[in-house]
């Protein structure tokens, strides 16, 4: 099966990398959101992740449940919009599933990520092809599970997940949005990447990069 375990400090590095990337790509994310939304996704994610890291730098919890609960609640209380509850619920559910552990193996990480995605579905009621963050995250987690099952390392599985997330993100371009503000555009939402799928692809890519370099 898979090899190795991931200490909590690596997951904090992942969150830090996600903060760095959404901050660097805030203009790009906002640009995508201008086309089919309300031009605030980049600013909101950058603000939320800055708040997350500020809190973690003041004191990092020792267990995964506390870590992800803190991340989720900080996002919920600092991001607003739809992204706050969706990303917040993702991390809150990850924490609930992970439990009071200090390290993850591949299966535990896969289960936590899957619970996070289920939380997003429960909160946002999105289905495949609705042109949402689900369209990047769902194929990513499927790829992660499949790679682990075929014996890949956690880092290689995460890299496969990141590729799948980016493919899923790119596949949102021709779709007509059925959820969120973009849905009000009807056919006019086609021809644009979904901003939530774009930030989700960054989330998975930064996980892969962090695991690949640790």
């Amino acid at each position: 099966m898979m090899t190795g375990t991931i200490p909590l400090s690596t997951l904090v590095s992942w969150l830090d990398a996600f903060r760095t990337e959404v901050t660097e790509q805030r203009a790009h994310l906002t640009e995508l959101d201008s086309a089919i939304g309300d031009a605030d996704h980049g600013a909101n994610m950058a603000r939320g992740m800055a708040a997350v890291m500020e809190k973690l730098e003041a004191g990092t919890p020792a267990t995964a449940d506390e870590l992800f609960k803190s991340v989720g609640m900080t996002l919920v209380t600092s991001v607003g919009g739809a992204s706050g509850p969706l990303y917040g619920t993702f991390f809150l559910r990850m924490g609930m599933t992970a439990g009071a552990v200090a390290e993850f193996d591949g299966a535990a990480l896969a289960a936590a990520l899957r619970a996070g995605l289920d939380g997003i579905v429960a909160r946002g009621k999105a289905e495949a092809g609705d042109k949402t963050m689900f369209d990047a995250l769902a194929p990513a987690l499927d790829a992660f599970d499949a790679a682990l099952a075929s014996g890949s390392s956690i880092a290689d599985a995460a890299a496969a997940a990141a590729d799948a997330a980016e493919a899923g993100r790119d596949a949102t371009e021709p779709l007509v949005a059925r959820k969120g503000r973009a849905s009000y555009l009807g056919e006019r939402s086609a021809g644009h990447l979904d901003p939530g799928a774009a930030s989700s692809a960054i989330l998975v890519r930064t996980l892969a990069d962090t695991l690949g370099s640790s």
Partner: protein, 332 residues
Amino acid sequence: MKKLINSPENVLADALAGVAAAHPDVRVDFTNRIIYRATPKADGKVALISGGGSGHEPLHGGFVGPGMLDAACAGEVFTSPTPDQMQEATKVVDRGAGVLHIVKNYTGDVMNFEMAGELAAAESGVEVATIVTDDDVAVQDSTWTAGRRGVGVTVLLEKIVGAAAEEGRDLAAVHALATKVNESGRSMGMALTSCTVPAAGKPTFDLPDDQMEIGIGIHGEPGRHRVPLAPASEIAQQLVEPILADLDFTGSPAIVMLNGMGASPLIELYLMYGEVAKLLEKAGVKIARNLVGNYITSLDMAGCSVTVLKADDEILKLWDAPVNTAGLRWGA
């Protein structure tokens, strides 16, 4: 971007400071970004809170005061406030009779108020009822979208239901009235220009000089379709027709709001009201009350929206009841 701001990051905080400086009859909680009445209402009365992204002023903070809201939670520009804000406001305004949450049907607002409800249920014993407004007829295919948006009727609802709460009606009655008002109102908006979110620094969408956007929401999201610019009389037709096609307004008195999106001068709003009133009267709609001005805006967007509410004697009486807020003031 040319705006009267210090920096894009501080727009909301600086604006709240200005609200506090201008209106001693409200109290601003700067930490939680909540505007409260300076003097809470009497014990035993239902309290009303609303909230939403900023950039729609006077909605909602300008409607806090006797006769309307008890508190308003302010989010970042065009971004819903967060559950902890709503939960805090709910706890503070409750006078023991429960709290009505007034939520505009936008995905983010609905999700955040939903989480606030879950947190409140887990933590405090305050009874909460929620009304989600969804009056925007521009959203045609609500099965395949996030549903009709909550827009202009929210203003009328906050006034009418606020008056009912002031009378001392219980939470179930207040909620029932809110439902009735929402179901009796329809809106349609249009834009002549886009708007500029301070954090983005440039207009949200491009709209050529000879075009207009019909069926917009209130967040600079583009509308349902783009058509050549037309005279006001034709624009009025494009707004009024879908409203009348959606609900029969004949046989009842109507409250009509001609709302500016933020950058259209009053002379144009009155001109548009004249066109709209003419069309409504021709269609047999009897206008009993009206409101012309900027009440639910979209930053510096030029354009307007029309809201028509099918009223009755009860609703008119509540409409006429005293109100004393920064955004609406009469009889008080």
